[in-house]
C-alpha cells in the first residue's frame, strides 16, 4: 500500500468519522483486495465456491498449493464471525486439506489462522490458510517445550472464568456442571449453516448471542451417552489409501 502524507491521512480519518456504518462497510469493501477477489473484480484461481465462502490458490504461498479460504462477507477478525460460519469454514478447510493430500503428493497439511498482527495476520479480511506440508520443508517448525505444572495451573486459572462466560457456563459451579452443557446433539439433524443461513451470517452481532444458535446450552444429555462415542473403533471412516498411509506414518 502506498504511503500517505500526514494531511491525506487526516482527511481520510475525518471522512471516515462522518460515514454511516453502511458507507463504512462499502469503503472497507473497496479497499479490501479479498473483497474484490470475491466479487471477481480481481481474478483468482478458484478451487471452491459456495454461498458463504470462496477458496482460492494463494499467489504468494508458503508452499505450492497453499489455499486461502475466505468468508464472502468482510470480517476483519475472527471474533466477529458468527459461529455457523466458523464451523462452515472449518469443514471447507477439512475438504481442502484432503484435496491437497490427494493431489499434491504431500504428506501433511496445516490449517492455520492468524488473529491479529502479532500473530502474523497480514490481510484485513479474515481467512483460513490451508498449507501443504512436506517432510523437511522447514515451515512453521516450532519446537515444543515442557511446561511447569504450576505455570500450567496459573494459565488455567487465568482463563477459566472468561472461557466459562463465553461458553455460557455458570462460574460458581466449576467442574461437575461442565460435562452436559455444551452438547451438540443429534436430534435436530444439523445446526449447521444451510439450516439457518440468513440471520446469523449477515449480522456481525457480538458473539455471546450468536453462540446460542449452533451450540444449544439447553440440550442436556446424560453423560452416559458419551461412552459409545468414545470407544467405537468401528466408526473409523474408510479413507482412501493415501490418507491411511499418512495416518499410518505414526505407527
Amino acid at each position: 500500500m502506498p504511503e500517505m502524507t500526514e494531511e491525506q491521512r487526516k482527511a481520510l480519518e475525518e471522512k471516515i468519522k462522518n460515514m454511516s456504518p453502511e458507507q463504512l462497510a462499502e469503503l472497507q469493501k473497496q479497499q479490501c483486495i479479498f473483497c474484490q477477489i470475491i466479487s471477481k473484480k480481481i481474478p483468482s484461481k478458484i478451487i471452491h465456491e459456495d454461498e458463504h465462502s470462496l477458496s482460492i490458490l494463494d499467489i504468494n504461498p508458503a508452499a505450492k498449493g497453499h489455499i486461502l479460504i475466505l468468508p464472502k462477507i468482510h470480517y476483519a477478525i475472527m471474533p466477529q464471525l458468527p459461529d455457523p460460519l466458523i464451523g462452515h469454514l472449518f469443514i471447507i478447510a477439512q475438504q481442502m486439506s484432503q484435496l491437497q493430500l490427494r493431489s499434491l503428493k504431500v504428506s501433511g497439511t496445516n490449517i492455520f489462522i492468524a488473529n491479529g498482527l502479532a500473530a502474523g495476520q497480514r490481510a484485513q479480511h479474515f481467512l483460513i490458510h490451508v498449507i501443504p506440508r512436506k517432510e523437511g520443508d522447514n515451515l512453521l517448525g516450532a519446537e515444543e517445550k515442557l511446561l511447569d505444572k504450576t505455570y500450567q495451573q496459573n494459565i488455567a486459572q487465568a482463563i477459566q472464568g472468561r472461557l466459562n462466560e463465553l461458553l455460557g457456563i455458570p462460574n460458581q459451579t466449576p467442574q461437575e456442571s461442565l460435562p452436559e452443557s455444551l452438547e451438540l446433539s443429534s436430534p435436530p439433524p444439523t445446526p449447521s449453516i444451510p439450516a439457518q443461513p440468513e440471520q446469523p451470517l449477515s449480522s456481525p452481532s457480538p458473539l455471546p448471542q450468536t453462540s446460542a444458535q449452533s451450540i444449544s446450552p439447553k440440550k442436556i444429555k446424560k453423560p452416559k451417552e458419551s461412552s459409545p462415542e468414545e470407544s467405537e473403533p468401528s466408526t473409523r471412516p474408510k479413507e482412501s489409501v493415501s490418507l491411511d498411509d499418512i495416518a499410518n506414518l505414526f505407527k
Binding site: 454461498e51 464451523g87 493431489s103 490449517i111 505444572k149 495451573q153 490418507l243
Partner: protein, 185 residues
C-alpha cells in the same frame, strides 16, 4: 504405545482441564510451543483431520474460537494462532487430531510465520490443474468422503444406517457438503 491425547482424555496425565463434555475436551497441556497454549481435543481418537466427522470438527472450531477470545481477554496477548497440524510432515506430534490455540505477542519470535514464495505462472497453473483434476475425479466417483464420517453421535446400535444414508438423498442440512460440491467451478 498409548496415544498421549487419549491419556489426557482418560485423565491419566497432568493436563489441566478447562472444559469437558461428552465428545470434546479443552486443556492446558504440559508440552507446548509457548506458555499459554491451549488445546481443543476431540475425545474419540481420530488420527488426522480428514477422519474427524465434520460436525465434531465444527464444534471444535467454535470452541477454539472461544478459547482464542478468552485468551485475548485474559492473558495480556496481542494475537492468537489457531493451528491444526496434520500428519507428521505437518508437524503433528501426537497421532490424535487436535486444535492448538497459541497466544502471540509482538516480537515473540515464534517461528509461526513463513516467507511467501512467489509462484511462477506455470507453477501456479500446474498446481491449479492438479487440484482441479482431483476435484473432478472426486465429484464423479463419490459424494465427498466427509459425509461418511457424519455418524458421530450414535455409531452403534439403534440408528446405525440412518445418519450415513441420510445426507445422500435428502435435502437435509447435512447434505450441504454435497450441494457445495455440485457447485464447484
Amino acid at each position: 504405545m498409548k496415544c498421549d491425547y487419549c491419556e489426557i482424555v482418560e485423565q491419566k496425565t497432568n493436563a489441566s482441564i478447562l472444559y469437558e463434555d461428552s465428545d470434546t475436551l479443552i486443556v492446558v497441556k504440559d508440552m507446548v510451543l509457548t506458555p499459554g497454549q491451549i488445546t481443543v481435543i476431540p475425545k474419540q481418537h481420530f488420527t488426522i483431520v480428514e477422519m474427524i466427522p465434520p460436525k465434531l470438527l465444527q464444534k471444535c472450531s467454535l470452541l477454539a474460537n472461544k478459547v482464542s477470545i478468552a485468551s485475548f481477554d485474559t492473558l495480556g496477548i496481542q494475537g492468537t494462532n489457531i493451528i491444526i497440524q496434520n500428519g507428521l510432515a505437518g508437524g503433528q506430534k501426537v497421532p490424535h487430531v487436535a486444535l492448538e490455540i497459541i497466544p502471540r505477542k509482538e516480537n515473540d519470535t515464534l517461528p509461526l510465520q513463513w516467507q511467501p514464495k512467489p509462484l511462477s505462472e506455470v507453477d501456479l497453473e500446474t498446481t491449479f490443474t492438479a487440484l482441479q483434476d482431483e476435484l473432478k475425479r472426486e465429484h464423479k466417483q463419490q459424494p465427498a468422503t466427509p459425509e461418511e464420517n457424519s455418524q458421530l453421535q450414535q455409531p452403534s446400535s439403534e440408528s446405525t444406517s440412518q445418519p450415513s444414508s441420510k445426507p445422500k438423498e435428502s435435502p437435509a442440512p447435512d447434505s450441504y457438503l454435497l450441494k457445495s460440491l455440485k457447485r464447484l467451478p
